[in-house]
């Protein structure tokens, strides 16, 4: 045990002290902060100065086009378009909107003149305003006024509630899915990133020819497990530092700039749903936005965090150990990294499939047969089960899945150690699957 501990320490320390580890660890939270701050900052900077001159020859829009905080409308009274153009040239306004006389049924010939290319945003907003106004005018013409119309509009936001024995809890499909997917994505990348590190480490020991020196002091199994556990430590350290540093950076940025963070994907999805109601935020929409946000936060606080976190750690480590030992075995079987392709394939396939399935089939039907089986089978369960857990999984299924995962990694570790003990002393030989399967039953 003492020796395996020494190996774990070495594997851990040499990696944690690497420049690439330190850079990655500190850069990622900074990038996260940048993603948060820059859009918010851009939003405050760019939209301030749009000013549009309007020459309304139709007379339909007099006083109807209202200035907004970030889009000023200046009606001008010019006798001709040419005169308006020359007037516009002398200013530094964004654009000149020319509304000719037109028929309410066929609104054509409206033009936007500008010195530079106008932004799409300005164009869309003006179009939107005009459309709204024309629609209103048409409603008026057919005897319906705006007030009436607003009353008729329907706006439905459904609150989903979980009924369980412990009582009712507000839930939110977006939050639930988001929590699951986040866990699954992290596990997926962790397995890949650090699994490959195990493989590289083994290949490095082989190519450096240190392996024989090592296994005259320790058992091959100790060397392999030491490496796997040491690298798991590196991964957990990085993950923990990311969480802590991100929290510090994010709260620091918020405090320093007083910026509200850019909406999270969940909020954006929510907002996207509300977009249908129109560009102008009316009173009702604002309240609905507010209820959505409070709903999201209540749903977040209603997630079972201890369970979620516990399961995350379990599947995180379980999945890593299961695949990590296989990555180690690949490293032992080959002489250099270019030979790893043929063996990598069968390992990456279940990972990629479970990743793709988890945000398509599984998320749509978390209790369906595909989701069930994939969350039970050890090779896919670490990713798929993470997606299912926030939706609620029966304890029996969870225990079955966990039990099988433990059996799974004991099994893969056994296979890996059989391949490893032979492979590390094998040089200059191209290995195929037949050869590998023979190694499983060699006596050493």
């Amino acid at each position: 045990m003492h020796k395996i501990w020494l190996i774990i320490q070495r594997e851990y320390l040499t990696r944690v002290r690497k420049k690439s580890f330190i850079i990655m660890t500190f850069l990622t939270p900074l990038l996260l902060a940048a993603f948060m701050v820059i859009p918010a900052w851009l939003a405050t900077v760019s939209n301030s100065d749009d000013v549009v001159m309007v020459l309304d020859e139709s007379g339909l829009f007099a006083d109807k086009l209202e200035s907004k905080e970030d889009l000023k409308i200046i009606p001008i009274a010019a006798s001709s378009l040419e005169q308006a153009k020359t007037a516009y040239q002398e200013t530094d306004y964004t654009a000149l909107l020319h509304i000719p006389k037109f028929d309410l049924d066929t609104p054509e010939g409206i033009r936007l003149y500008s010195k530079k290319n106008t932004s799409l945003q300005v164009k869309f907003r003006l179009e939107n305003m005009l459309e709204k106004e024309i629609e209103s005018q048409r409603f008026m013409a057919s005897g319906i006024d705006r007030e009436m119309l607003n009353k008729m509009k329907a706006n439905v936001t459904m609150t989903t509630v979980n009924l369980s024995e412990s009582g009712e809890r507000d839930s939110n499909v977006w939050v639930t899915s988001g929590a699951g997917i986040t866990g699954a994505v992290i596990i997926y990348f962790f397995i890949f990133l650090y699994g490959v590190q195990i493989m590289r480490g083994v290949i490095e020991e082989k190519t450096n020819r240190i392996v024989e020196v090592m296994i005259s002091s320790v058992k091959p199994f100790q060397l392999m497990m030491g490496k796997i556990v040491g690298i798991a430590g590196v991964g957990l350290t990085q993950f923990l530092l990311w969480v802590v540093l991100s929290a510090i950076v994010v709260s620091g940025v918020q405090a320093a700039f007083g910026i509200k963070p850019a909406p999270t994907p969940i909020e954006q999805m929510q907002a996207g749903r509300d977009l249908a109601t129109g560009e102008e935020s009316t009173q009702t929409e604002e309240t609905s936005q507010a209820t959505t946000i409070s709903e999201v936060s209540s749903a977040i606080s209603n997630l079972n965090f201890p369970l979620l976190l516990g399961c995350f750690l379990f599947y995180f480590l379980g999945g890593y150990l299961l695949y990590g030992s296989l990555f180690g075995a690949i490293g032992a079987a080959v002489d250099n990294e270019t030979d790893t392709q043929q063996f990598m394939f069968p390992i990456t396939i279940p990972l990629i499939i479970s990743f793709i399935m988890s945000y398509t089939v599984v998320i749509q039907n978390p209790d369906g047969p595909v989701a069930f089986w994939m969350s039970i089978i050890p090779f896919t369960s670490p990713i798929v089960m993470m997606v299912r857990i926030p939706f609620g999984v029966p304890a029996s299924e969870l225990l079955l899945s966990m039990g099988l995962l433990i059996l799974g990694f004991i099994f893969t570790t056994w296979i890996a150690s059989r391949i490893y003990r032979i492979g590390i002393l094998m040089y200059g030989k191209k290995i195929n699957y037949k050869e590998l399967s023979k190694w499983l039953f060699y006596r050493v």
Binding site: L6, M214, I215, S216
Partner: protein, 303 residues
């Protein structure tokens, strides 16, 4: 007393036999040559001794006890394929390898200090292995092998890759370790390179032991009572006690290989020669291990 007793060891791989019923003893405190051509089975035997692999049948006894994992820390093994962690500092690497051999951190640090003084390598301790020259890496590797003061040191092809200066340094270290009580096994196919160092040898060919024993005895057994004589004068041997195998004359200087027959002693030959010619050099022609090996292999194949 023997430090290692190898008793009927056999090791088979999928399609060949690496060792076939090999038995011999290695006496404590000697330098032992494990000799034989490439592929004879030397490395297989060493890997069984160092417990990297196991024998299919047969036993090995270390200091009279059946080989077991705890013996590992009394052994130091320098494999033919050498290597160190390239990105690790020399000091850390030595500390790590010594600790894996069972030294405590303090012991290991103290030993490293001694060796640093002996090899005068203080300024390398904080360098990465990859920044050292090949010869320096070899020195570090040798240190790592003997750092834990093993009673059995196994060196597989020890002098390949060493420049002559470092090779001599290592030879001196090996002799010093032997004088301190360690037993050293040299495994090599270049028999002449270790001949003058070895006290005992075992010859292995095609997975079988051909011959083993103290070098002196083996040479005595295989010596042919032949002497090389160089001198001035006209040499003409007519005595039935001596047989001339080879003779060259060049401007009154002769060189001859003469064999003693029928129990004649070297002194008889010398006396005979002194009466007739002026002797400048009189040397026994001892067969080299290489010669003995070739003779022995021929014998076993013709028999």
């Amino acid at each position: 007393m023997s430090i290692l007793k190898i008793d009927g060891v056999t090791k088979r791989y999928a399609n060949h036999t690496a060792l076939d019923n090999v038995s011999f003893d290695i006496p404590a405190g000697c330098i032992f040559g494990l000799l034989g051509p490439n592929g004879a089975g030397k490395t297989s035997l060493i890997r069984i001794i160092t417990q990297i692999t196991g024998a299919d049948s047969g036993e090995i006894f270390f200091k009279g006890e059946k080989l077991r994992p705890s013996h590992i820390k009394s052994m130091g093994y320098l494999p033919e394929e050498r290597g160190l962690y390239k990105k690790m500092k020399v000091g850390e690497q030595l500390l790590y390898l010594a600790q894996l051999k069972g030294l405590t951190k303090d012991e290991a640090t103290a030993r490293i200090k001694e060796w640093v003084l002996r090899f005068e390598i203080k300024e390398w301790m904080n360098k990465n292995i990859e920044d050292l020259s090949k010869g320096m890496q070899q020195k570090v590797q040798f240190m790592a092998t003997v750092m834990h003061e093993p009673s059995l040191i196994i060196l597989d092809e020890p002098f390949s890759g060493f420049d002559p200066i470092n090779a001599n340094l290592i030879k001196d270290e090996i002799l010093r370790l032997r004088d301190n009580g360690a037993t050293i096994i040299f495994s090599t196919h270049r028999m002449e390179s270790v001949e003058e160092l070895c006290d005992n040898i075992a010859l292995i060919n095609r997975s079988r032991k051909v011959l083993d024993g103290p070098v002196r005895e083996i040479k005595d057994t295989y010596k042919t009572d032949t002497y090389q004589v160089i001198g001035n004068g006209q040499l003409l041997i007519t005595s039935p006690d001596f047989e001339v195998l080879e003779q060259h004359d060049n401007h009154g200087v002769f060189r001859a290989s003469i064999r003693l027959l029928d129990g004649a002693s070297p002194n008889d030959l010398l006396r005979y020669l002194i009466q007739r010619v002026e002797v400048h050099s009189f040397v026994e022609l001892v067969p080299s291990i290489n010669d003995i090996f070739i003779r022995k292999v021929k014998e076993t194949y013709h028999a």
